[in-house]
Amino acid sequence: MLLWVLLGLLVLLTVGACVFRDLLYVAVSLALVSAVLAGILFHYGANIAGVFELSVCAGLITVLFVSTVGMTKDSDQGDETRMGRGFIPLVLLVFIGLDVLILRWLGSALPSIVPGAGSGSFQNVFWNLRSADILGQVVLILAGVFGISALFRLKVKEKKHE
């Protein structure tokens, strides 16, 4: 039952990622796709694969990709980023905090969803076996944040010129 719910969510979110026009929603749904996919992998007992899926933060990479492509077209996305311009450090901390919270929640929740999944419970896999990747993941998020802020700097700068 749970599996079907997850699969349905996955399809919905994927479709959503394609349909949404607002970049922010696209990003969020992609990130959620990633999370749901991890849940499915866990359901099948592929604990390490699930952790991998989350660790890569595929969604984040895609966001960057989409925004880079967005830059080449003449879109009008400057406003929401200008808003965030002054709060980069804050956004950064919130990002990391949320990330850690979500992962902790997943850590405690998932093993109960998938009872008896073997030695590699999520918590164990994530915090003990793959701990090097946490560092990588944190910096990956940093890269994303700074990358997006650096790229949207364009709009601000160009508008000043005009």
Binding site: F65, T68, T72, L135, G136, F146, G147
Partner: protein
């Protein structure tokens, strides 16, 4: 001593976190923070050289990192070039804007590369590769001009292909061995004894294609001549000098010398791809009139030399290849920084419009001569020795034809770099540039440091070879 490994890893990300506040304080604070954050890992790396011994391990919050001679050699390269680029960038970034963001991304890139070198797990290697790559995509587009963004997208797309190939390769390895930790992998795969399983052969092919793309080896090179020239100069220097080596060559070296069991064909593939890249890169470079594009094609050619050295299968070839990694990082970043200084002052990269600039930009002119002579392999500069070792290795392996081609290509290399010298620096001053001044002090300082490194590692090549190159090559031979 082991704690230095932790500091090398942690200093850049900590500085990244502090960067927004530092840039609030002003440009000087951001500059200081960036230089310190790039300088400290270099200091720690250099201090690790005498302490290395048989290798060091370090545990950071339960994460395992380890350092051996191979990693150390690449660490020196990464941090030395990154430091010079950072010094250079403190001046250069002024005309781009977004100072703090630039430094932060550059530091993230450095972190990704350092972590790649220190991790002992195939998947973590992939993850850190992504960290460095994401920072590089953004940095390529940092100038926010049309061609920069376009080539960043091209770079990103091809890199995405590369990393998917690598990921599938990792998956295949995991299916075969059930682990991704280097030492355990080596033990698990070496035990088979008989013919290499088909899955591993497929994985090997995927790794060569994936990391070959990252290293811009010949059939996979298309992104490099776009991405490297359109990036800001310090980023071009980092990409051509360091990133293609760590993301491509280091990964190949780790996987094929120590993890996967010995596959005879891999060497042949290295030799063929290397020769192809060496020749084609040089020929294509010859026809460029864009300063940085010429340098980018010459990077492909020099990567070819490195690959040949790896494919020879003797210690001398490996010493040559690893030393060439070291040398190429120094002189190619030097040349890219030179081209950046010229572009910074002139606003163009077209060598046909330049001429006689050494009278107005003496530091840039003189250091570019150092770079030219190094890359062409003129003794006593460093490039000569690594090419000599590769050629001697080729002869020792019975590859006379490849040795002859390597010699011919080095003549060709001198040929096209003399074109740069003649059209850009050596000659009468083009009247258009009568009022051009030398690049700002920080930029000049960076190129002086690199030029001095080119000469000194050439004159004292034996210290460098004995100290950090040969131990690395011995480890690779032993692991093979």
């Amino acid at each position: 001593m082991e704690s230095y490994i932790g500091w090398i890893l942690l200093v850049p990300p900590i500085a990244v976190l502090l960067m927004p506040w530092a840039s609030r304080l002003g440009g000087w604070a951001a500059n200081t923070l960036a230089i310190v954050a790039a300088g400290l890992p270099l200091v720690f790396t250099l201090r690790l050289i005498p302490a290395l011994g048989g290798g060091l391990t370090y545990e950071l919050f339960g994460a395992h990192f380890a350092l051996d001679s191979v990693s150390l050699l690449f660490l020196v390269v990464v941090n030395a070039v990154a430091f010079a680029c950072m010094v250079y960038a403190t001046s250069y970034v002024a005309h781009l804007g977004g100072r703090g963001k630039f430094f932060a991304l550059l530091l993230i890139m450095v972190f990704g590369l350092n972590a790649m070198l220190l991790t002992r797990d195939l998947f973590s290697l992939y993850l850190f590769l992504e960290v460095a790559s994401i920072a590089s995509y953004v940095l390529v587009a940092f100038g926010l001009e049309q061609d920069g963004i376009e080539s960043a997208v091209k770079y990103l797309l091809l890199s995405a292909v590369a990393t998917s190939l690598v990921l599938v390769g990792i998956l295949l390895v995991y299916m075969t061995a059930g682990t991704l930790e280097f030492a355990a992998l080596g033990a698990a795969l070496a035990g088979t004894g008989g013919p290499v399983p088909g899955l591993l052969l497929l994985a090997a092919a995927l790794f060569i294609a994936g990391f070959g793309l990252k290293a811009a080896v010949m059939p996979f090179h298309a992104w490099l001549p776009d991405a490297h020239p359109s990036a800001p100069a310090p980023i071009s220097a980092m990409l051509s000098g360091v990133v293609i080596k760590v993301a491509g060559i280091y990964a190949l070296v780790r996987i094929f010398f120590g993890i996967l069991p010995e596959i005879g064909e891999v060497r042949t593939v290295f030799l063929i791809l290397g020769t192809l890249s060496m020749i084609a890169g040089a020929v294509l470079a010859y026809f460029q009139s864009d300063f940085k594009r010429m340098l980018a094609y010459s990077s492909i050619s020099q990567i070819g030399y490195i690959l040949i050295g790896l494919g020879l299968g003797n210690l001398l070839g490996l010493v040559g290849a690893l030393f060439h990694v070291f040398n190429h990082a120094l002189f190619k970043s030097l040349l890219f920084l030179n081209s950046g200084a010229v572009q910074y002052r002139l606003g163009t990269r077209d060598i046909e419009q330049m001429g006689g600039l050494e009278t107005r930009m003496p530091v840039t002119g003189a250091t570019s001569v150092f770079g030219t002579l190094s890359i062409a392999g003129v003794p006593p500069f460093n490039g000569f020795w690594s090419k000599l070792f590769i050629i001697m290795g080729a002869l020792a392996a019975g590859q006379t034809a490849i040795a002859t081609l390597a010699i011919l290509v080095s003549l060709f290399t001198l040929g096209y770099f003399l074109i740069i010298q003649r059209k850009v620096f050596f000659g009468h001053l083009n009247e258009k540039w009568r009022d051009i001044r030398e690049a700002p002090a920080a930029m000049s300082l960076a190129v002086i440091l690199l030029a001095a490194a080119c000469l000194l590692t050439g004159v004292f090549f034996h210290s460098v070879t004995r100290g950090i190159v040969e131990p690395a090559a011995v480890i690779l031979m032993g692991g093979n």
